[in-house]
Each structure stands twice: as C-alpha cells, then as structure tokens.
C-alpha cells in the first residue's frame, strides 16, 4: 500500500473539480493523512485468495422491455435548473 503521506490533497481536489481554500487544503491533508494511517491496518490481511465483493447479494442481468412510457416534460425537467432559456439548460462554454 502506498505511504499515507503521498496523498496530495491539492492535486486530488483538482481531479474532483472541487475548489478548496488554503486552510481546507492543509486541514484535510492532516485529517485524511490520519484516516489513511488508520486504514493501513488493511495491509495485515491476507487477500491473496479472495475474490472482491461488488454487491452483498448478487443480482444479475436485469432487463426490461424497451417500450416508450411516461417521462418528465421539458418544463418539469428544467424546473430546478439554475440557468435555462428556450426550454434548454444554459451551460458554461466548454470549447474555445
């Protein structure tokens, strides 16, 4: 397992698209360092012959008929949008 000190909170926050203040960055660096140090105990466990669990009670191949049904109107779907116009979401520009 990697060393706990390797977590770089500032870098991970960029990956997560999450702005942090300088105070938050240094506080989380310390707090998450403690959590990762605590979690080092997982290293003790022999998992060499264990399959990973994805779900506690596995359920496979859930299908449904591909049929049209009721759904939200455009007005309903837009009702919580922070910015909208002409029945559309307004997004921040993503291309130059």
């Amino acid at each position: 397992m990697a060393e706990p000190s390797q977590i770089d909170v500032g870098y991970v926050a960029k990956l997560a698209r999450l702005n942090l203040s300088d105070e938050e960055t240094s506080l989380f660096q310390k707090q998450l360092g403690d959590v990762l140090k605590y979690a080092e105990k997982l290293r003790e466990v022999d998992v060499s012959h264990v399959e990973a669990t994805a779900h506690a009670i596995p359920v496979f191949n859930i299908f449904r008929e591909d049929q049209p049904g009721d759904c939200f109107t455009a007005e309903e779907a837009l009702s919580n949008a922070p910015r909208k116009a002409n029945n559309l979401f307004i997004v921040t520009k993503v291309v130059e």
Binding site: L42, T53, H55
Partner: protein
C-alpha cells in the same frame, strides 16, 4: 383523549382510535402540528413542513389501510413530490422534488401521510447531524448532546413525540446509531429489500431505506409498507415480503423456529461476537448489553460465543468503499441541471470548482477527496480493490456465524450520545462511532436497534444549568442474515415486550 395526548401514542394505538372513528386523520395532523410547534424549536428535527398538503390527503385517506391516516416523517434525502429535498446541503437548498420515491409511493398506497422532511448530516455523511448545512439537531434526552446521525432529525422527532414514525437511510449505521442514542427503534433492512429509487445516492452498494419508530411492532408496520421488489431499482430483490405486522402478533410461524412474541425465545440461538466487546466501549453500555444477554437467556434463548475475526477492519473498508462510491455519485452536482451554481464563472473549470467548493460542506469535501484518491490511477489496487476483498472476508465471517446462530447481539453504538462539538474536529473519532453498525452494511444483512437501558451522566460540578443528572438511552443491536427481518423483529419484540425501556420518554 385530549388532542395534546395524541402525539404520545405509538402507531398501533393511534390506529385503534382512528379505526373506531374516535379521532380523524385531520385531528391527528393538527395535534402533531401543535406538538411540533411546541417542541421543534428546542430540538430542530425538521427542515421543512407542509401540513396544507398533508391535510388535503387526510380528507380522503382510508383509515383501514395498513397505515391509514398515520403521518410519517421523511428524511430529507428521500424525494416527496412537490416538497424540498435538500439532503441537508447548501447545494440543494432550493431543490424541489419532481416525483415520489418508490418508498413514498408505497407509503401513500398504505394510507400513510408524509407531512415534513427531517434534518440530517449533509448527504447522509456523519454520525451526529452536525454536518447539516442548516442547523444541528439536538438530542431530546439532553439538548447539549447530538441525536446521532445521519438520520438524526428522524430519530429526535420520534423520540420527542414530534413524529409517530419516520423513514431514514442507513449506509454505515445512519438509522441504527441515531435510534440507539435517541432511545427509539431503528431498522436497517437487507440490502435490496427496500427500493432506493428516488433516494439521493451516497454509497449505492450500501444504502438502504428503513423505519424509525417507537416500538418494534410500529417498525414492522412501516417495513411491511415499504419493502418489496421495484423494477425501477435493479438492485432490489425479487423476493416475497413476509407479513411483518402479523408475525409480530404471534400469528405467523416464520422460518425454522416458531417464536411466539413476548412469550418466549426457546430454541432461538443468539451469537455474542467477542470482537464487539472492545476496549473503548463505555462501561455503562457494556453493562446494559450484558444485562440484555442475561435477559435473553431468561426468555429461553441460547447464547453462543462466536468470532467475527475481520471486525476490526470494517471501518477502514467502509471509508474506502463508501467514499469511492460517493465521489462518483456526487459528480452529478455540477451546477447545470439542478442545484447551486457559482455566479459568473470564468470558464468551465472555474464553474465546476467554485460551484462544488461553495456548495458542499467540509465533511462532504473530505469524503469526495478521499474517494477520488482511492480510485485514482496507481492507488486503485492498493486501496479500493483491497478493501473490496476484505469486505468479502467480512461477509464470509457473517455467513459462517449464521450457520450457528439465528441472530447476533451487540451494542449499537460503543458510547451514548456525545456532546455537540465533541468530535467535529477529529473525523476519525466520528467514524469510529459506527464500528458496530458498519459491518452489517458491508455484508448486506439486516439489523435492528432497540432501547435496552440508560447511562447515567452526573452533572458537572460547576454545572448550574443542569439541575439533575441526565439519562442517556443505550441501544441493543440484533443482526440477522439476509432477508431474515421477520426473525429479528420477533426476537426484538420478545425483548421489548418483557422490558420497560421503550416506555421511557424524555422530559422536554
């Protein structure tokens, strides 16, 4: 009965009055509204109320339905059409639900009336309800203490007779732990027993909706209404749902052993895991559990010592898996389709970064960072995949144990309710509050917490504000194997009906 006495009733007794037409659903709602207006300023259990909508439903409800005319409080992470659904977060402060979650649709079909949304830790992340972006909720037994969390609003409301029953969600203990420290009954159903459709996702492989109630029978009534297969949740299990309320009347012989509620537990085998009596457990909690075990023996149960060897890894596994899933689930909060959006973004990265940085509170940010880290390139195998493998070992521990016993007995929380602010600075200490509840979520099994005693806390020497010593509820956890809710209900009911702990009420 005077209207002021109605909120003190449990659901079963309330229904008897409703069905004899001694009170109307409108009377019940008005009495509950008066109680909430009186008590909620002290405990802050609710985030929003809509009695106008509830009274309209009360006019046409059939009181002979399983929950006909019974108001049920709803944790603010479950969508109720037309009502706010803030998840306790600033990022959803102005959100209104467009549709009913499946559990709400089912509650309405059973005649229950949603009327208000309860406070919670933001996105269900926390064990004290202090992570709500709006306000902390206070424990009705001692207003200087937390009600547990994350379903702390639901637990406090039920404990203070400001709700007859409530829904919560439990990802690592968020129903059972607040139920325990607030002195009510709380149930975490088997993963897949109850639909998650319309419930804002925190950790999708762990989340379950369940009831909080004043008695085991009331919890069974609500469970009976909300359980069952839902085509809209592909993880929901297509398994028959037993008639929980009937089984709690002693009418139904469920499973291998017949348990006549309140008359005995002969033939029932209970397991006592040695790993659950750890250092750091409060001495009064330990005494209460020891006494409960003796009580089970006196009811005829056989108590067997057993081992769940991977218990100590539960919290570490949980915090890797739950945060990984949360970091993916919370990616949807991008300030485009709903929720808070930062003003005048410079470009798209500034839009995302400030929307999420301003919209989420500290605990949610910490968990998104940890979850993103354990899933990131180079760390996935060491953290996430290893945690999934240890999860499998924890699941196998329980499978082995349930070959020998019908249910596992433990404390729900290692400590009674702690003081507001006591653990906020140290996230790891807060996480350890869930040490006995988290393994049940990882294994996908069912569990219940019910009152089993009180811890006496002496007033501080200089505590002129506190006249007498306070009593803090202690919770007993019963864990059952997957889909075996009926059995843990019956065992819990037998304990409850032969003790008086559930009858105690906080003086507010």
């Amino acid at each position: 009965m005077s209207p002021a006495d109605l909120p003190g009733l449990n659901i079963a007794d309330l229904q008897a009055l409703l069905r004899r037409r001694e009170v109307s659903p409108r009377d019940v709602l008005e009495a509950l509204r008066a109680r909430i207006e009186e008590i909620d300023p002290k405990i802050d259990a609710y985030l929003s109320l809509d009695f106008e909508a509830a009274l309209k439903e009360a006019e046409k409800v059939d009181v002979n339905l399983p929950l006909g005319g019974v108001p049920i409080a709803i944790k603010d992470i479950i969508n109720v059409a037309g009502q706010p659904c803030t998840c306790g977060s600033k990022i959803l402060a102005n959100y209104r639900a467009m549709y009913d979650a499946t559990v709400i649709r089912k509650l309405r079909a059973a005649g229950a009336i949603p009327f208000g949304k309860t406070n919670m830790d933001e996105f269900a992340m926390g064990s004290s309800t202090e992570n709500s972006s709006v306000k902390p909720t206070r424990n009705p037994w001692d207003l200087s203490r937390v009600p547990g969390g994350s379903s702390g609003g639901s637990a406090a409301a039920v404990a203070a007779d400001a709700a007859f029953g409530a829904l919560g969600t439990d990802t690592g203990g968020s129903i059972r732990q607040p139920a325990a420290v607030s002195g009510v009954v709380g149930v975490k159903p088997t993963y897949g027993r109850v639909s998650r459709f319309g419930v804002t996702a925190f950790a999708s492989s762990l989340d379950q909706v369940g009831p909080l109630a004043k008695t085991v029978r009331d919890a069974g009534l609500i469970m009976g209404a909300i359980a069952g297969h839902d085509p809209l949740d592909s993880t929901s299990l297509n398994e028959p749902v037993p008639n929980y309320p009937a089984s709690l009347n002693g009418d139904l012989a469920a499973g291998r052993v017949r348990v006549a509620a309140a008359t005995g537990l002969r033939g029932v085998r209970l397991g006592l895991p040695k790993e659950y009596m750890i250092e750091g457990i409060d001495s009064q909690v330990k005494s209460a559990i020891d006494a409960a075990v003796q009580h089970f023996i006196s009811l005829g149960a056989e108590v067997i010592d057993l081992t769940l060897p991977h218990t100590e890894y539960g919290i570490a596994v949980y915090y890797f898996l739950a945060t990984a899933e949360a970091s993916a689930n919370l990616a949807r909060f991008d300030g485009v389709r709903y929720g808070y959006r930062a003003e005048n973004p410079r470009d798209i990265l500034d839009h995302y970064g400030r929307t999420r940085g301003d919209g989420f509170g500290p605990e949610v940010k910490r968990r998104i960072i940890l979850g993103t880290y354990v899933l990131s390139s180079g760390y996935y195998d060491a953290y996430y995949l290893r945690a999934q493998k240890v999860r499998e070992l924890i699941r196998q521990d329980f499978a082995t144990a349930f070959e020998k016993v019908d249910a596992i007995v433990s404390p729900t929380s290692p400590v009674p309710a702690f003081k507001l602010g006591e653990r906020t600075a140290d996230p790891l200490q807060m996480y350890l509050a869930d040490i006995f509840t988290v393994p049940g979520n990882l294994a996908g099994i069912c569990g219940i917490s019910l009152p089993c005693g009180f811890a006496k806390i002496d007033p501080p020497e200089d505590g002129f504000a506190v006249a007498n010593s306070v009593q803090l509820p202690i919770g007993l956890q019963l864990l059952g194997k997957a889909l075996d809710e009926a059995r843990i209900f019956q065992i819990a009911r037998a304990y409850e009906q032969s003790t008086d702990w559930h009858k105690a009420k906080p003086s507010l």
